[in-house]
């Protein structure tokens, strides 16, 4: 009889320890979810509730929702907001809650986008609804972002909920400028004349454009009155570097890409290895805030040079109207 009792005691203690282990690690519901996911094939998600305990009851954040359905497409070159709503329950009454809450959008490796002034919009009994808009930048990475909401009460109790996620769409874009680019003076027979300003490419999306993925397609600028004459594309070079020594015009040492390699029908990488110790041509546009305007973050600058203005050219307009416009092409890939 004594042994039987001992077995029961051991079993009871063992079960109690197991039960407590599940509770302490919050693993029981996870375990059930895991089994459920195996049965239904649905993905499950783990929920982190961080509760800081002060005096009184701890508030709870529930019904955390977003207004976005499907992928969220950021506004090109700007900010776009996503609206987050949630409810808070506080057994001590709504008057015990702070009227402002925080919501942040998070993704590993990305800057947090936060609104610390989420407003209470409705309060009834022990429940209050909060809403707020959080801005995302155009360069914020694509993929899954987590919505994190927190609120504190006047006693210092803090509740947190991160149960909602949303997906940012993949966006590729750039703007080419300036609107007008000119050469100071082009005399027939002149050599190595660089455009007065650089062609600037600003990344307006959330994708990196890596080395080798910026290309150009150039055509001959034909005379508008006498189309036999023209500024041949082969007499232009382009480079991401400029120096007083006109490195941007030096196709011989590969410090500039000679556009003669371009047939007018195909694209060529603005990317090549310089000869010997001469600089390489490497063009890319990382995603980022190009308004910093440092030529690096979210930006690439290209220097166009006419290596030779044909001595045979006469007084007339030269344009791309006969052939196709020049095109700068960017490719985003995994």
């Amino acid at each position: 009889m004594g042994e039987k009792r001992l077995i029961y005691i051991i079993l009871a203690v063992g079960l109690f320890v197991i039960f407590m282990s599940f509770l302490v690690t919050a693993g029981f519901s996870d375990w059930l979810n895991n089994i459920r996911s195996k049965i239904t094939g649905e993905a499950t998600s783990f929920v982190d509730f961080n509760i800081t305990v002060g005096a009184g009851n701890v508030p709870q954040i529930i019904n955390l929702t977003k207004d976005q359905v499907g992928s969220f497409t950021v506004t090109e070159n700007g900010m776009s907001n996503i609206t987050i709503n949630f409810s808070v329950v506080d057994a001590d009454g709504i008057s015990n809650l702070n009227t402002l809450a925080n919501v942040s959008l998070q993704k590993t490796g990305e800057s947090r986008r936060t609104n610390t002034t989420c407003q209470q919009v409705v309060a009834v009994g022990n429940n209050a609804n909060y809403t707020c808009q959080v801005d995302l930048w155009f360069f914020d990475d694509d993929g899954a972002w987590t919505v994190n909401a927190t609120i504190s009460d006047v006693s210092g109790n803090k509740a947190e909920n991160s149960t909602t996620t949303f997906t940012v769409a993949t966006q590729t874009g750039f703007i080419l400028g300036p609107g007008n680019l000119s050469f100071s003076t082009l005399s027939p027979g002149a050599k190595n004349q660089t455009a007065s300003t650089a062609l600037t490419l600003n990344n307006t999306g959330n994708q990196d454009i890596p080395d080798g993925n910026i290309e150009i397609n150039a055509t001959t600028l034909a005379g508008e009155s006498n189309s036999v004459l023209g500024l041949h594309s082969g007499n232009f070079t382009i480079s991401n570097t400029t120096t007083a020594g006109k490195i941007q015009c030096d196709g011989g040492n590969n410090t500039a890409v000679v556009l003669s390699k371009v047939s007018g029908k195909s694209f060529i990488d603005i990317n090549q290895t310089g000869v010997g110790t001469f600089a390489n041509v490497t063009t890319n546009m990382s995603r980022g805030n190009h308004s910093i305007n440092n030529g690096i973050i979210g930006q690439e600058q290209l220097y166009l040079c006419i290596t030779l203005v044909g001595p045979e050219l006469t007084q007339q307009s030269y344009s791309t109207s006969l052939n196709k416009p020049w095109t700068i092409q960017a490719t985003s890939a995994a």
Binding site: L6, G173, L181, P188, P325, W326, T327
Partner: protein, 188 residues
């Protein structure tokens, strides 16, 4: 001397005429997010994908052309057009459909390139246009199982020490239980 000044005049004139105008050379294309730029489809399965065009800098509607540069054997634009007008401060949708061939083998990969370019403006000047390629792959087969969350993976759960502790306790209890039971049986 006279010849030199004529040449200079010509030079100045040509210089004035060569003006690059980079008009309508800004836009973007948004695509549905795909992990590692891979879309998984079973043989014969179709999926519609919506691409979104924007032009943040336009002061007038922008015309762009869209084409499936690579992979057109499995992906088509289902809109009855290939030129789209992006309204000022607005967006334009490009609707496409991807279908994995019914006879495709698991593991087959199809490269897709969606290309968007400005429609060249007619007329003079030295015009610059721009184009954007969006690349991804269609993989025939099942999508790899989704991780549970970005912060905690299944592997981490499996290596959770508390799980081992629980299993250990259960084993100890069972050993004690059977040992006592055996002892009791022997006494009888």
């Amino acid at each position: 001397m006279a010849n030199k000044s004529i040449t200079q005049m010509l030079g100045i004139f040509i210089g004035i005429l060569i003006i690059l105008s980079a008009v309508a050379s800004a836009f973007s294309i948004s695509a549905p997010y795909m992990e590692n730029r891979k879309l998984y489809l079973s043989p014969g399965e179709s999926e519609e994908l919506e691409f979104v065009l924007q032009n943040a800098f336009a002061t007038e509607p922008t015309e762009v052309g869209v084409k499936i540069e690579e992979g057109s054997e499995i992906m088509q634009i289902i809109d009855p057009k290939s030129t789209y007008t992006i309204p000022v401060s607005g967006r334009a949708s490009v609707n496409t459909q991807v279908t994995a061939p019914p006879n495709a083998k698991i593991g087959d990969i199809y490269k897709i390139r969606v290309s968007v370019g400005t429609v060249p403006a007619e007329g003079g000047a030295f015009t610059f246009g721009s184009s954007i390629n969006h690349d991804f792959e269609v993989v025939v087969g099942e999508k790899p199982k989704t991780q549970i969350t970005g912060e905690q993976s299944k592997g981490e759960i499996a290596s959770n020490p508390s799980l081992y502790l629980i299993v250990g306790i259960i084993i100890v209890i069972l050993v004690i239980f059977f040992a006592l039971r055996k002892r009791k049986t022997k006494k009888r």
